[in-house]
């Protein structure tokens, strides 16, 4: 009996100690000194601003879903100019489990006529740890975030959730890590314009072919849930793979791989087929377009979206 009492006593004590120590460490020590610790203080891409702004939008024409290639690849200003009200719900390394949370939170409010989902094989094979931490840290704390921990019982995600909960408990403001906003201009509607057009391309010139990664079951399930909900609401869906640099041999495996994984759910439009992109001009790294590339890509995909809206 004494043993059981001691055991549970220690568990309670250690849990309280853990939460307090986590709060003290992350709240009082500047985040630049705690980067090696297991927690996420947000990723690049201004997700917090995007989600705050989403609360002010209703009944838009188009919603964009996906990872950083989404919020850096679909410029809402270009769609606005064409008379299409668009909102970009992309976030860094967003995988289907985070897309599902964001989708469930904002979809009824945004009530789009068309959904554009930027796909890539890696979104199904990525565990989503970083993105879960980002979403937990930069969004409003609600119960729907808990399944993220269930999918990834990972210390990074758990610590972020505990820290965010403690901040909420003491009604404290979420301190923003300067690394999340650096070199980005947040544009109304969720687009992020990269102002560091001289970024170094780490992938260019690589010769190895990266094999197609194995999709994770929970990511596939989340993807199916999202697509089923879109279908149930009779909203047209456009699956897109945003343009990628060609000077990278892994590009050759991307197209068939993307087809194999996503075409059971709808036809995929390949950004690279829409316009002649030039690696040195239209990209600032292997996965992201420069503003020049964004202009070119958005002009090329606009007719598809307009046609879908007309059909609807």
């Amino acid at each position: 009996m004494a043993l059981i009492k001691q055991f549970f006593g220690f568990i309670l004590f250690a849990s309280a100690f853990y939460v307090m120590a986590l709060f003290i460490t992350f709240y009082f020590i500047p985040s630049k000194y705690t980067v090696f610790f297991n927690a996420c203080f947000g990723l690049k891409g201004n997700l917090d601003l995007r989600l705050q702004e989403a609360n002010n939008y209703h009944n838009v024409d188009v919603v964009f879903l996906g990872a950083s290639d989404t919020y850096r690849g679909f410029d809402t200003r270009i769609f606005d100019a064409a008379g299409i009200q668009a909102f970009n719900l992309g976030s860094s390394v967003q995988t289907p489990i985070q897309t599902e949370v964001i989708f469930n939170r904002y979809f009824d409010r945004l009530n789009p006529k068309v959904v554009v989902y930027a796909v890539h094989p890696s979104i199904l094979s990525n565990s989503g740890t970083e993105s879960s931490g980002d979403l937990i840290f930069q969004s409003e704390l609600r119960q729907d975030l808990f399944p993220l921990v269930q999918h990834q019982p990972n210390l990074k995600v758990i610590n972020t959730l505990l820290y965010k909960s403690t901040l909420g408990l003491f009604n404290l403001e979420v301190p923003k890590w300067s690394g999340t906003t650096k070199k980005d201009d947040y544009i109304k509607g969720g687009f992020c314009q990269n102002i560091d057009e001289n970024a170094i391309d780490l992938m260019a010139g690589r010769t190895e072919i990266i094999p197609l990664p194995q999709p994770l079951d929970y990511q596939l399930d989340a993807l199916k849930n999202i697509l089923a909900k879109i279908k149930n609401k009779n909203i047209p869906l456009i699956l897109v793979m945003t343009p990628r640099i060609r000077d990278n041999r892994s590009f050759e495996t991307l197209k068939p791989g993307t087809r194999q994984l996503f075409e059971p759910y709808g036809q995929v439009i390949f950004g690279n087929d829409l316009a002649p992109f030039i690696d040195s001009l239209d990209f600032y790294d292997s996965n992201h377009l420069s503003q020049n590339g964004v202009n070119k890509f958005n002009a090329a995909i606009l007719p598809y979206i307009q046609a879908t809206l007309r059909k609807d």
Partner: protein
Amino acid sequence: MSFTSVSFLLLFFLVFLVYWSPLANSVKKQNWILLISSYIIFGFWAIDFIPLLLIFSGGNYWLGNVIYRSENAKVKRNWRLVAVLFNLTLLFYFKYFGVYLESMHGFLTEIGIHISPTWFNILAPIGISYFVFRALGYVLDIYKGKTKPLEDPSHFFLYIIYFPAIIAGPIEKAQVFYIQIREKRTLSLAVLELAAIQFLWGLFKKFVIADNCSFFSDSILSTPENQPSILLLLAMLATGIQIYADFSGYCDMAEALSKFLGIRIVKNFNYPFFSQSIVEFWRRWHISLTTWLTEHVFTPLSIALRDYGKTGTMIAITCNMVICGIWHGPNLTFIFFGLLHGLFFIPPVLSGKSLASKKSKADDKFRFSSILRMFGIFALVSYTEVIFVSESLQKAFEFSYQFFWAGLLRPVEITLLTFYTVAICVFFIFIEWFGRQKEVPIFNLFPERHFIFRWSTYAFLLFIIGITMRSSLTPFVYQQF
């Protein structure tokens, strides 16, 4: 399923409950529970090898009995030879034969013998080096008349597969183990607390110290040609600490799991980095393997070479250390590691300093000269550990060239990662130093204090593990041997 995985801990908890339940109300029943659960746990690691392990255990038990019963010395010797061949053939086949075939591939192809490359990939059962040495030590001890065969074969089967020690040792002696399992075991709150803290300390060593040191040293040692000597020195020391924290962390967990079951297994480490000589270091490092090799390799060799005086001793030590290196695997880096350690023994042998001195110098008072000697041994061993973990000898030589020559004048840039790694290493050494007189250093920092002090220390360790452990679980270094 590692000691650190949730599935293993749940399974262990189940075994623990059944083991101490009224259902297991006798020593015999508890031993059977241990034996069955050990096979189940081994099955999770390598189910295909269970028949082999049963045959292996049965074979060695039978050989032990045959050797014991043989009255004729020549027959006895012949059976010993059979036992040695039986065990070493198994070890050589699984650990070295694939590499041997691979190295011979070119030659065999030239003479018209074609071997499929799939033959090179021989999958070895987990813990093979440990259970082969346990079994071989058992039959050799029977041959030497140091021990009698175990009466109950189930005790021998349990000795071979006892799950807390199967992955990476320690290489316990059969008689020591037998004394433990034939006696009634009791469970006290104090022992449980000690076991829990030892397990926690093992986790801390593995996740916080070893994995973070490995992350730092890998980042430096992967490209030694671009690094300044100072950073290479830090990476080298971090490698030494990594290997120690990884292996001794595993041993702490194994000892702790065994304590939960009321069985004490032999201590494998005794603060080796506080040694002031290489002789003392090997008395404190991987103690069970060192003891095994001393008994079964060094002693017979030095007796055979006794007519050659100090030269004979040096040859015996060098052979012993090279075998120690080869035991880890068929890589040249392991052999070179063993050879270097053999060479380190030459000065003490030549100077006539007794190899038999058992005085523990780490318990001396804090003196600057002692600290210098400790650092010297620590650096020397860490250097050999860099060779040990190198992909190839060429990589090890690249490191040495850059460290001792090309990197001397390179400018140093201290990053946050360097600072962070140094900080956790200093914290670790501090705890080990002040707790070095006791079994589990952290437990003894607050032995007589109020429970709040002790609980706060343990909760603090859990917190540090929680915020610093790397996201992916890395296997124990010595698990591969």
